[in-house]
Amino acid sequence: MKHTLQQVFRSPRFVIGFSIFMFIVLTVIVYPLIVRAEPLEIIGQGTFFPPGIYVNVYDSMDSPEYILHLDDAAAKRIANKLNDEDRQAIKEWLAGYGIPENEIDIQDTEKLLDQWVNNYDPTEKIPGMTNARRNYFIRLDKSLYGILATEGATVAAINPETDVLEEIDSVAQTDYVNISQVPNVRVLPLGTDNFGRDVLTELVSAIGISLIIGLVAGLIATSIGLILGLAAGYIGGLVDDVVMFFTNIFTVIPSFVLLILISFSISQEQRGAVTIAVVIGFTSWVWTARAVRAQVISLRNRDHVNLSKLSGHSTTRIILVSVLPYIASYVIMALILQISSAILAEAGLSILGLGPRTTEVPTLGLMMNWAMIYQAPALGKWWAYFPVLLVIALIAFSLNLMNTGLDQVFNPALRE
């Protein structure tokens, strides 16, 4: 046993796969200890906030101000409001208005804005311009208001006693706050999803649930497969015929179809994550049963098994002592593959809208489903689907890598 483990951990593939998998599992365990947030709590009002650090604006006004003189501050401020696309658009408008093109320099911000402010007229009709484009220019004009200003802004509030707007603070362009002194800062490393939930927290919780689904489904499938395979292979005869009859049938009937039929028939309220896992487990035992049976048949007539039979040991004991240890590596490899394919099956089902009910727990498939329904890929909201996809791929990859690593250890022909 110890020797086998040593050998297994000497296989680079297994070790890489194992490390990735353990990293994922540890993240699932450790993350909730650090970030105590409800995974499905809706914190954002709106959809798909981009990843970043969210600083409370109100609090930052009250935080201690520091004056920093940074040379490129003004340039950055302008660049943020007026990007290259906007500059190009301004040039287009001005050219359409009748300014000679050689007089327009989109790099010279001051001159460009000067030309814009002097000439732009929202009522002016440029030939060939659509209404949407005209609205874009009206918005652009509004956003450019005060872009070159150098004086600060005034903060005012209504005095509750006199009902008059009073200046309570003024903010200069050189004022800074230290982010650690602002009481309300929320880091959203992966932004928010379509419901306004923190994607990272949700993702970690989803990984946990999906791993549980994989484990439950994998254990069920492997147990059924192992028992049927052992019975068919060792007992043989009629049992073998019956088991093989069903195994052959279920090999050809796509388990995907069975999953759809069963999940659709279970009402939404009963469709929890574990129920889905059980359904997946009960539809994917076929491979394991076939493989175990083939292995057992080749073992059945070995000398040590015959010896055990002659010694009068019970069938249970023979199977436990003389058969199981020889196919253990095989069964573990099958289990690993079952876990990985169960996680993928849940994801596929959820995309079809047949996954676990949506109100209680997130799963990787459900997150994928939400992202697809709200068209995250087409809208360019990568944080809503790409991390999920990456995690699904990494889990399956690490499990498959462990599997090929084990294969190399136990099948000497494949060794390098």
């Binding site: 090999t251 050809v252 759809i260 069963i262 028939s265 990985s340 791929a393 990859f397």
Partner: protein, 334 residues
């Protein structure tokens, strides 16, 4: 010839038995579930409805529609009779369009997409697998982990990645549908071109996934074969590697064909979900809309059709295998 007939006959009998079984499951599974499916559907349809009498009326209407108020055996006979006549009932969501009509149009999109994709993916994957086994070394070291990673992705994952890169970012190819929405299906060149362009992303996302899986399997098979005595013997005899590799390919390919026959169901299932990502007008998208609209007759018919497709594909592969495998060929001459 006798051997062949026995082989085909046996396969044919299995096909029939499996189909009957699948048919039974398709009928029984939804009816076996705890609870009353008609009640569940009624509950979904009548959400927000206040009047008890109204809900009861809807319930009875659905009971009549499914015939669930009749005994199980009568239901079953009715079901068989309808299916044999190609009558799968009327779709709920696209009322009054018959289910057979909806499936009749979407099934061809799926067949035309998946059949070539599976064949191309299988062929390329196996060639790469043999190459990896033969060259080992650097090529193998890069190609293997890459293949494992690619085949770890679900087909819909590959579909999303291709969609984002080639349709959303680069805008080379359209994001969704089977043809341009402004066109009507006809045999003009612009329409065929539009279909071709829309075909690319779904096609390659399925092909790439299959390549990954097949390459891994073929590599192990080919390594076994390369270590076989006949290869060593041929090498001693001074036969060129190019000739040997041809024999290795043929021998290693046989288990791969069986593997394909066994995996076709899984591949089709994954590819159906990939279709959804592109809103390709095939069976996958049909099932999705049926699920969203609680269109029970459509789902039931679609799953039956998919099962039948997979069964036919498996059967065809097994028949082809009979022609290719020399052991079955030898049995024929007995």
């Amino acid at each position: 010839m006798k051997g062949y007939f026995r082989y085909f006959g046996g396969k044919m009998v299995w096909l029939l038995i499996t189909f009957i079984f699948a048919f039974l499951l398709n009928f029984i599974l939804p009816r076996l579930m705890p609870g009353d499916p008609v009640a569940v559907i009624t509950q979904r349809v009548t959400q927000g409805m206040q009047s008890q009498a109204g809900i009861q009326a809807v319930y009875e209407e659905y009971q009549e529609l499914f015939g669930t108020n009749k005994p199980m055996l009568t239901q079953f006979l009715l079901y068989i009779k309808n299916v044999v006549q190609g009558d799968f009932g009327t779709s709920f969501s696209q009322y009054p369009r018959p289910v057979a009509d909806i499936l009749g149009s979407s099934i061809w999109w799926t067949v035309m997409l998946q059949l070539p994709a599976i064949l191309v993916g299988w062929l390329i994957g196996n060639l790469l697998g043999v190459l990896a086994a033969y060259l080992r070394g650097g090529y193998d070291k890069v190609a293997m982990p890459l293949s494992i990673f690619v085949s770890s992705l679900p087909a819909f994952g590959m579909a999303i990645i291709l969609l984002v890169i080639f349709a959303v970012q680069l805008k080379w190819l359209p994001t969704s549908g089977g043809y341009d929405v402004s066109m009507f299906p006809n045999w003009s060149w612009p329409f065929i071109w539009s279909v071709f362009v829309h075909y690319q992303l779904p096609f390659w996302s399925i092909v790439l996934i299959i390549i990954g899986g097949q390459a891994i399997g073929m590599r192990s098979m080919a390594i076994y074969e390369l270590n076989a005595d006949y290869v060593k013997f041929s090498r001693f005899m001074g036969i060129k590697d190019r000739v040997i590799i041809r024999y290795v390919f043929r021998n290693a390919m046989l288990p791969q064909i069986t593997g394909l026959a066994l995996a076709v169901g899984t591949i089709v299932g994954g590819a159906l979900v990939a279709e959804i990502i592109f809103s390709y007008p095939g069976l996958g998208t049909t099932i999705l809309s049926a699920v969203r609209n609680q269109d029970y007759p459509l789902i039931s018919a679609a799953t039956l059709i998919i099962t039948l497709m997979v069964l036919i594909a498996t059967f065809t592969i097994e028949i082809l295998y009979g022609f290719i495998d020399p052991r079955i060929k030898a049995a024929q001459s007995d």
